[in-house]
């Protein structure tokens, strides 16, 4: 086998794999414009499923739930995660093995085990005390739990990348710790804060399993709504809402590309 034919074969394999990766998404988008209710025949282009979306109360409230959940949980996780990230950095010379285990636990735990243990726990706490009724609040708690480690690790690695003498300089410059935080800490970790927020937001939007098990009857998010619709029998409206979500991801991909291009690596 010559080098050139190897390269040609690899190129072909690359495009085939890309086709494989985008085919299911393309099918969803294509059939969202189908004028008839079928996933096998494409009869003609129409926007009727998109029109039906706008008048579907359940989908609109699911969208609102997804947004509230993602934003609120990301903000809380950002606060708590930042503190851990900084604490890990400041005390990196101590033995913090227990903390590392604690931080990696939400990452390595299979999400079905994660979701179910929270559900079982919330149900029992609710039964005993009346608190933590399954709903948006329990979902926010669960999401914050899996977002904290990612925020903490991003913030920590940002601090590790800094010159340690900067901290001494800041101490000399600003007398009060509060001023140090405002004028030195926050500005220097700003890029890390932004990327941690977006990662938390994405993780929350992307999650299905943990949300599914910690949700209540009134707090369905978009993925949970879509899941229910699929289980009940496929309706073409799902194609439309799924296409909009795919569109949002495509937009995010283009934005990240532009953003990374503009900033020299």
């Amino acid at each position: 086998m010559t080098k050139r034919s190897l390269k040609r074969g690899l190129t072909g394999f690359w495009w085939l794999t890309l086709f494989f990766l985008y085919l299911p998404l393309a099918v969803v988008v294509l059939f969202s414009f189908n004028s008839v209710n079928s996933s096998a025949n494409f009869a003609g282009v129409s926007l009727r499923w998109y029109q039906r979306l706008l008048s579907n109360e359940q989908i609109l409230s699911a969208f609102a739930n997804s947004m509230v959940l993602a934003i609120v949980s990301s903000v809380i996780a950002l606060g708590i995660g930042c503190l851990i990230g900084y604490g890990m950095y400041r005390h990196r010379h101590r033995k913090l093995g227990w903390l590392i285990v604690l931080i990696y636990l939400p990452i390595v735990l299979p999400d079905i085990v994660f979701g179910i243990s929270e559900m079982a726990f919330f149900v029992q706490v609710h039964e005993a005390t009346g608190w933590l009724q399954p709903g948006l609040a329990t979902m926010i708690i669960a999401h914050v739990t899996f977002q904290i480690p990612f925020v903490a690790l991003i913030i920590y690695s940002r601090f590790v990348g800094l010159d340690p003498t900067l901290f001494e300089a800041a101490k000399d410059l600003y007398a009060s710790p509060l001023k140090r935080v405002r004028h030195f800490m926050l500005p220097t970790i700003k890029p890390a804060l932004i990327s941690a927020f977006f990662l938390s937001f994405t993780l929350s939007i992307d999650d299905f399993v943990i949300s599914f098990f910690t949700s209540g009857p009134e707090s369905a998010t978009l993925p949970i709504y879509i899941w229910g619709a699929i289980k009940k029998g496929v309706s073409p409206e799902i194609n439309a809402i799924a296409s909009l979500m795919i569109g949002a991801v495509a937009l995010a991909a283009v934005l990240s590309l532009i953003f990374n291009r503009r900033r020299p690596a």
Binding site: P24, V113, E118, I141, A250
Partner: protein, 306 residues
């Protein structure tokens, strides 16, 4: 006395540092302990309790749940649960192997392309996994349902009985798993290929090594850390997968995750579900531990972060 005051100052510093540690790390540590460690400890406890009415756990403590998991029920032994376990293992093994086979050439190909294209190519591989898992799986349902071109092609080739469609089936689950996890293998393998020392490969070629031997002795050992990291990222979540078998597998494609979830929805049998969850945890930690050991023995264990 200067000695005492120094001693006092040092003690004060230690106290201040400890307080600092408590205030910075404390809230998060408390949060994870309260909302994850405690719940999973509770779940493990549930596995050793008796199944009560509505599937809720009750005292006394017993090993019933584990016996049920092994197939012993009121009506004697039945292999249903064991089949589910074996199917989970088999699907994990098969899909991980397939993912490795696809990801190796892809990761290598990206490193042979121009540098400015590489980030875009990586992004192209990763972007589909940014869409929600439920939607991606739904896409495959649309593609594999009876009457679709792919199903009719398979029928025409005599691979499946007429009018059955490719889904629900075990094949659809494997496909869904490979689709879902491919990016998780490509990324670490790409990172390994990018650091690859080309001189070793050239030396192998200069010494007339066959491509297979060159791969085995020059390429494979160098990409091993990436491969191990990829296997951890693919196999562990695949074993506990819930969404894909639920949507693409049907009754005969059930995996451990579905067995566990089923015990908690509709009030079936919490202790049995909890026992299944323990099994999943054990598998997870064995997997992590084994990868660490292998990684360390082969040198390059540092790369396997988890």
């Amino acid at each position: 006395m200067p000695g005492t005051s120094q001693h006092l100052m040092r003690r004060r510093a230690v106290v201040a540092e400890t307080r600092h540690l408590l205030f910075s790390v404390g809230p998060g540590a408390l949060w994870i302990t309260l909302f994850l460690v405690l719940p999973s400890a509770y779940l493990m406890g549930v596995a050793f309790m008796t199944n009560g009415p509505y599937g809720l756990p009750q005292m006394p403590l017993t090993l019933d749940a584990f016996e049920r998991l092994a197939g012993f029920g009121f009506l004697g032994w039945s292999p249903g649960n064991l089949y589910t376990l074996l199917r989970s293992l088999w699907q994990t093994l098969l899909s991980t192997t397939l993912v490795v086979i696809v990801a190796y050439p892809i990761a290598y190909y990206i490193t042979t392309c121009r540098e400015r294209w590489r980030p875009i190519m990586l992004l192209a591989v990763v972007v589909p996994s940014w869409t929600n898992q439920v939607i991606r799986t739904f896409g495959w349902m649309n593609l594999l349902a009876p009457g679709t071109p792919l199903s009719e092609l398979a029928e025409g080739l005599g691979l499946i009985p007429p009018n059955m469609g490719l889904y629900p089936s075990n094949f659809a689950v494997t496909l869904g798993l490979v689709y879902n996890f491919l990016p998780f293998m490509v990324l670490p393998l790409y990172a390994a290929f990018e650091k690859l020392d080309g001189a070793q490969v050239e030396a192998a070629q200069d010494l007339y090594a066959s491509p297979v031997r060159a791969f085995r002795h020059a390429v494979f050992p160098q990409t091993l850390p990436g491969l191990l990291a990829g296997i951890v990222l693919v196999a562990i979540p695949a074993f506990g997968m819930y969404v894909i078998p639920e949507l693409l597998g049907g009754g005969k494609g059930m995996m451990l995750g579905n067995l566990v979830a089923m015990q908690f929805s509709g009030g079936s049998n919490w202790p049995l579900g909890a026992a299944g969850a323990i099994l999943m945890l054990i598998a997870t930690f064995i997997g992590l531990f084994a990868m660490r050991r292998i990684g360390k023995r082969l040198g390059g264990g540092e790369e396997v972060v988890i």
